[in-house]
Amino acid sequence: MARSKNRMSNEINAGSMADIAFLLLIFFLVTTTIASDKGILNVLPPKQDPNVPPPDIKKNERNIFNVLINANNDLLVEGEYRRKAEGLDKDFKDFIMNFGAPDEEAVALYNSLPASLQAQAQRRPESSDHPGEAVISIKTNRGTSYAVFLEVFDLAKKAYFDVYSERVGLTSDEYRALTGDDEASKALQDKGKEGIPMAISIAEPDKAGGN
């Protein structure tokens, strides 16, 4: 009796607590997959009403930057053959910021840009009039690999994000991390985008090389 009383008064040994916790920790470490919800956002065009003919959009050829990707994953960029997509972002950027024939609004836009962006305006007559008009068009075949398409789409996004971020003085990563949830980040986001809509058109793939 006396003995057991003596035992009760002892403290519980907590030395193995850490071991138990470790065991649980390792279990959760192994089973955890931190979900990645990262990716490239795209908004699809609305469904086309079969009774309404598609709108006839008149656009100057120079305002459209055509990228075709065929079933062999070869690229045709503005009529020129390319094997790899690398460097396309530079071409996209040059095209967007060309300011070939700016109207009044575009001139005001141009004047509001930081000097580093202004310097990029090449003002070539055969390229886009101004950012508001410029459209990047990506067309694929049904047999085109998704990886190549995504690479080109990624580069097109990069061109726009580079412009936006340069305009507000952030790095591209910082700009993309803006959530738009609070006033300040929303204001920055809008300031970057203002007057330069992200116009990336993805044409319906044609039948070649597909299934």
């Binding site: 990716g39 699809l44 469904k47 049904r142 998704y146 959530t179 597909g210």
Partner: protein, 155 residues
């Protein structure tokens, strides 16, 4: 030298480990909270392509996942790329119904902003993807996220 030795003697001879369980428990709780135990059984190959211009979605509840790739069990499902939604492989016309089901799960105010995260295998061609996108347009779920991982070799 003597000075140093004196100091050493003054210190306790063992590190106090009584806070160790607390630290471990903290880590444990972190992983318990972030763990998603009910991970979907993905029935198709998933080698996600890499890209640089990643954006993160704010509201996870608005995302529904669609998996596209070559079936893992080729003897049962063949080698052509298939679409998986929830735990089953579905054919293109069923996507509209699936989107509507997913949308019904959301609160009414959020239904229009449903986002479909497309987890597409590298090897898939554009054909099946465009079919899926056509169906998504039919279902009026037009916000699409091409799931992708960070490209490591940047410039």
């Amino acid at each position: 030298m003597a000075k140093f030795r004196k100091k050493k003697l003054g210190g306790s001879d063992q590190i106090n480990t009584s806070a160790l369980p607390d630290i471990i428990f903290m880590l444990l709780f972190f992983f318990m909270v972030t763990t998603v135990l009910r991970e979907q059984d993905v029935l198709v190959d998933q080698k996600i392509p890499q890209s640089s211009q990643l954006q993160k979605l704010q509201n996870k509840t608005l995302i529904s996942y669609i998996f596209i790739g070559k079936p893992k069990n080729t003897s049962l499902y063949g080698t052509e790329p298939r679409v998986q939604a929830n735990d089953v492989l579905i054919s293109s016309p069923e996507i509209v119904q699936w989107v509507n089901q997913e949308r019904d799960k959301l609160p009414e105010a959020d239904r229009s902003s449903i986002t479909i995260s497309m987890k597409v295998d590298k090897e898939v061609k554009m054909g099946p993807i465009s079919d899926v996108q056509t169906e998504l347009r039919n279902a009026d779920a037009r916000k699409v996220l091409y799931a992708s991982t960070k490209k490591l070799d940047q410039e």
